[in-house]
């Protein structure tokens, strides 16, 4: 069962990959989410990779993941009957989220002004790559464009090589999550006075937000980072944060001070027990060693850090990710394995929390394992979800049940290509 939290509310999902996560989040919390897509399915049904490399909508992993829990109706927005169906659905919905090119829905009578005339309660969110007024408002888009525009890409990768995107595009997911928050923010006053509103989500801003403390560096420190590779931090606190081990990589935060000093000491002790490291590492006062914060790195500091990092690297090469992580947990060292999907699937913590969910997929004759809920709630737990709908799977149910259309009318609409 999805959560009871948003039971009774209805969201119309007119997004593509710029916002599919939004409807999925609402569905997880118990809202009825109706995905409206063109006959033949929306573009998110054709995003590779596919399960078992079978290139059809039922095996599209993006759809499987981000349309689960939703219903699907088809409506052909290119014709008047199709548009009228969506307008009618909108009069009976609490939320609408869309990510069409700016102005498109307005031009076909499905814009905010038109729909809220009939349903002033409606909360209507548009997900846009660059906002709705700037010079880039009509720009062509792909996820990597937002990654570049958001400043993250510039910092990812190695010197002398191109800036990088992650191998699973992320910008659309941030935007979908942001749309969910914004719509629930608007929901609160709507529950008091009955009035909805228009929301514009800016994808570029969503990614700039992930830059953490780097955005203000040019103004406050007069410098900014370039691609940091496997190093973390500003020039004064530059530290290697990814090391090789027997079967992959390990990430460690090496630092001194109150927060990190004890972790660094614990790592040095662990190395010492195994015959790695030098005496200076053990005797150094790591708690008061905070270069970059309250002191400048000296020549000596650089030498010592280089020595320490080289020692850590030699030490970690003697063990596997799993062995290192187990010791890190035990000794409370700030480290983590660079986990693969296989490592994550095997993780005892997630098993102990009963994280994974089984979701039967009769469409492809197998049960798939999904990441579980994003939160555990005491009163309204998120339980299971349902598989992603087939394209138009719920057209009859919704058009008959919600809009009260007769079967003959639905058949006519279908014959005319409206649904």
């Amino acid at each position: 069962m999805p959560s009871e939290l948003l039971k009774g509310f209805r969201l119309l999902d007119l997004t593509d990959e710029k916002g599919a996560l939004c409807g999925k989040m609402f569905a997880d919390l118990g809202a009825e989410v109706i995905k409206v897509e063109p006959p033949g399915g929306c573009s998110t049904r054709r995003i590779p990779p596919y399960l078992e490399d079978k290139a059809d909508a039922e095996h599209c992993l993006y759809s499987i993941a981000y349309h689960s829990g939703k219903k699907s109706v088809t409506a052909n927005l290119a014709n008047a009957d199709g548009r009228a169906l969506v307008a009618d659905l909108a009069t009976q919905s609490d939320f609408l989220v869309e990510s069409h090119p700016l102005g498109y829905l307005d031009s076909i009578g499905l814009g905010y002004d038109a729909l809220t005339k009939k349903n002033p309660r409606l909360i209507y969110a548009s997900i846009t790559p660059f906002g709705d007024t700037g010079p880039g408002k009509d720009y062509n888009w792909a996820d990597i464009i937002t990654w570049a525009a958001g400043g993250v890409m510039y910092l990812m990768g190695e010197e002398g090589k191109p800036p990088l995107q992650m191998s699973l595009p992320q910008a659309g997911l941030h935007a979908g999550g942001e749309a969910s928050v914004a719509m629930m923010l608007a929901h609160y006053p709507r529950q008091i006075d009955g009035l909805g509103q228009r929301i514009v989500v800016n994808m570029q801003a969503c990614i700039v937000w992930t830059l953490m403390n780097e955005q203000a560096m040019p103004f406050l420190h007069g410098s900014h980072l370039s691609r940091t590779g496997i190093f973390v931090g500003s020039a004064d606190a530059r530290r290697k944060m990814v090391y090789e081990c027997k079967d992959g990589h390990i990430s460690i935060l090496i630092a001194g001070g109150v927060t990190f000093g004890n972790s660094t000491k614990a790592l040095i002790e662990w190395m010492h027990e195994n015959g790695f490291g030098s005496e200076w590492m053990r005797t150094k006062d790591w708690i008061s060693w905070v270069p970059g914060v309250f002191m400048k790195m000296t020549e000596q500091d650089y030498k010592e850090i280089e020595d320490l990092e080289a020692t850590i690297q030699r030490f970690l090469l003697t063990m596997t990710k799993h062995e290192i992580y187990a010791q890190g947990l035990k000794r409370r060292i700030f480290l983590a394995p660079v986990a693969t999907a296989a490592d994550i699937a095997a993780d005892e913590q997630l098993k102990a929390r009963d994280f994974w969910m089984s979701v039967p997929h009769d469409t492809i004759g197998r049960t798939l394992t999904f990441p579980g809920p994003f939160a555990k709630m005491s009163a309204t737990p998120i339980g299971s979800t349902t598989r992603a709908p087939r394209v138009g799977e719920h057209s009859d149910e919704i058009y008959r049940g919600l809009l009260g259309l007769a079967s003959e009318r639905i058949a006519k609409l279908r014959a005319a290509g409206s649904i």
Partner: protein, 405 residues
């Protein structure tokens, strides 16, 4: 109608570092009253994190802290002391929501766990957010978002190819989880209004972050296929990546380009005043197959162009493109400028400094950065004197005992 969406909502915020404060920032910027209960004995680590005003460290000089704590109040206690905890507890009946983000045992050890607090306010909504959740063998895992981004799979999909690992900058998962926690808290608040029921929410940054990797995790469980680092290669677009442009002021510049169709491919070539008869680039499928060769070819064409001019040209021709912006560029970006993204707020110690604005805009009850981040304990007087009715003498005594700072 009130001016802000969440006017009248009260939050007692024990959280620190990233996820918790970023979650409550959504509320504060939308009119909720958020009181940060800070420990002066063990301040939020971001308070001493860079960047600092004039590059000079200080507990009230960090923009890292400031960015996530706009529109909030701050009181400074030493929660290690029983009297401080009693003061904090006296604020609980006022609170609709309590948020905390310590490792799991801390709040319970202090007698500030959900079971304790709901005795003071039966319909309380409480969010605990930590690295790996409140239960399970690794519940006490200490960490930061940098490590969580490695643990939850993001580092592994960041690199130039097999064996390469070049992680995203910073604590990436700290910027995923708050969208889930704020959404959930807002829904819980509405649920309480409808049903009278509060509740406890246990959010693991780990589990929230993995929502952004769901397709790869589902695939692995079903087929054993592990998604690895593949540079900028895409199964949908070619060219797809960052291409070097002409340097500016001695700095290297790059442009991101994504081409999906033959039409866009021809448009891109025309915009670059080039053509190609190379059979490897003749169809979309062939281009994707020969991504490495196409990257080299496109890179040779873009090298002499100015990244901004080329973006305008390519976009006008229908091709997705944008300069790869650095942290100076984003502050000069026309699109962010027109959206009104950046805010320069006047901070009590820092003076004016740059804050990120909201990532969305609402038409009727727009949120905004109502005030700069508080200095540590800025609202002690208001909270202890006005809300808890302590006398000046009592406050003075508590300060002597280092209960209040």
């Amino acid at each position: 109608m009130s001016r802000f969406a969440l006017e009248g909502v009260h939050i007692l915020d024990f959280a620190w570092v990233g996820v918790g404060p970023i979650t409550t920032k959504y509320f504060a910027d939308n009119g909720a009253d958020v009181i940060r209960v800070e420990s002066a004995a063990r301040p939020d680590v971001l308070r001493i994190g860079p960047p600092w005003k004039d590059a000079m460290p200080g507990i009230n000089r960090s923009q890292f802290f400031a960015s996530y704590n706009t529109s909030k109040k701050s009181i400074a206690l030493d929660l290690g002391k029983p009297k401080a905890r009693e003061l904090a507890k006296r604020l609980v009946p006022w609170a609709d929501i309590v948020v905390e983000s310590f490792t799991p045992k801390a709040m319970r050890k202090w007698g500030l766990g959900y079971d304790n607090l709901r005795e003071l306010r039966p319909d309380l909504i409480m969010l605990s957010t930590c690295m790996q959740g409140q239960t399970g063998p690794n519940a006490l895992y200490p960490g930061f978002g940098q490590l969580m981004a490695a643990l939850s799979g993001f580092y592994y999909i960041s690199g130039y190819g097999p064996g390469s690992c070049t992680p995203p900058y910073g604590a990436y998962t700290d910027f995923i989880a708050p969208r889930f926690s704020a959404f959930t808290l807002l829904a819980a608040l509405d649920y309480r209004r409808r049903t009278g029921k509060g509740q406890y929410i246990d959010m693991a940054q780990y589990e929230a972050a993995m929502q952004n990797l769901a397709p790869a995790l589902i695939d692995y469980h079903a087929t054993g296929r592990v998604l690895g680092p593949q540079g900028n290669a895409s199964a949908r677009y070619a060219p797809h990546g960052a291409y070097r442009c002409a340097d500016e002021d001695g700095n290297e510049r790059w442009i991101a380009i994504a081409v999906a169709s033959d039409e866009q491919w021809r448009a891109m070539l025309a915009a670059l005043a080039s053509e190609s008869t190379d059979p490897r680039f003749a169809t979309a499928a062939a281009r994707i197959e020969n991504a490495a060769a196409i990257d080299q070819f496109v890179g040779s064409l873009t090298r002499a162009h100015n990244a901004h001019d080329l973006t305008a040209k390519l976009q006008a021709a229908g091709v997705a493109a944008y300069p790869v912006e650095n942290c100076v560029d984003i502050h000069q970006d026309d699109n962010l400028e027109v959206f009104g993204f950046w805010h320069w707020l006047e901070h009590k110690e820092m003076g004016p400094s740059p804050y990120e604005g909201l990532e969305h805009r609402m038409s009727r009850t727009p949120g905004t950065l109502r005030s700069a981040a508080p200095i540590l304990g800025q609202d002690n007087d208001e909270v202890f004197r006005e809300m808890l009715s302590l006398s000046a003498d009592e406050i003075e005594q508590l300060k002597k005992e280092n209960v209040i700072f």
